[in-house]
C-alpha cells in the first residue's frame, strides 16, 4: 500500500520515469485518491520548470587571469 511518504520520496523518480511499472502504477493509483499528493507533485513540477527558467548561476569569483596567461603562453609556443 503506497503512502504519502512514499510519494514524497519517489516524486522525482516518478516525474523522470525512473520507476518500475509496478511502483509507477502504485503511485499513480495513490495520486488518484490523494489530493495533497497531487498538489505536492504539481509543486515539484513547477519547481523544476522555475529553476530551468531562472537558470541560477554558480557563484564565486573565478579568477580568469591565470587562464589568460596560460593561453598566451600556449599561443606563443604555437607561433
Amino acid at each position: 500500500m503506497i503512502k504519502c511518504k512514499d510519494l514524497t520520496e519517489k516524486a522525482s523518480d516518478y516525474l523522470d520515469g525512473n520507476l518500475s511499472l509496478r511502483k509507477r502504477i502504485g503511485l499513480s493509483f495513490h495520486l488518484l485518491i490523494c489530493r495533497p499528493c497531487r498538489n505536492y507533485l504539481q509543486q515539484i513540477r513547477s519547481t523544476i520548470k522555475t529553476v530551468k527558467v531562472l537558470q541560477p548561476k554558480e557563484k564565486g569569483a573565478y579568477d580568469t587571469c591565470p587562464l589568460v596567461k596560460k593561453l598566451r603562453e600556449l599561443s606563443r609556443k604555437q607561433d
Partner: protein, 166 residues
Amino acid sequence: MISVARAIVGEAFADEVVQDAWISAIKALPKFEGRSSLKTWLLHIVSNGAKSRVRRENRMISLDDGWQSVSSDKFDNTGHRIDEILPWEEATPEALLANEQLQAAIEETFQKLPSLQRAALTMYDMEGLKMEEVCNILDISASNARVLLHRARTCLHQCIDKFQDK
C-alpha cells in the same frame, strides 16, 4: 565547468582544474569529432581532470552532506500526510519569478546546495543532459545521481513553498 569541478574535487582545487581543462580542450580541439555536443565534451574533460586530481589528493567523495528530508512530523505513523497541501497560487515559472524576493531566495538556496547536488541539478534540469551523462561526468551511480537530484529539487521546493505561506 566550475560546478562539475567543485562537485568532484571541492572548492580548493576547482579553479585550477577548470583552467587545466580549458588548456587541454584547446589543445585537443582538432581531435574533437563531434560525437557528443561540445558542452558534454568539455564537461568530460573537466570531469577527467577533477577525478585525477581527486586520486592525487586521495580525497573521498561523500554523498552524506547533511541532508534532511521532508520533516517526519508532516506524516502520521502510517505514513500519510497530516496537513492539507494547497496548490500554489502562482504556479507558472513566470508568475513565481515575478516576485523578486523569491527569485533572490531561489538563487541563494541554489548557491547553498552541496556541490554534488548543485552539479546534478545544473546538468540534468538546467542543461538537459541525460542521466547517463551526469553519472559518467560525476563518476557516481545512477541511484546516487537520482538521490542528489531529488534532494536538490526538494530544497528548492521548500524555498518556494515558504513564500507561498507569506
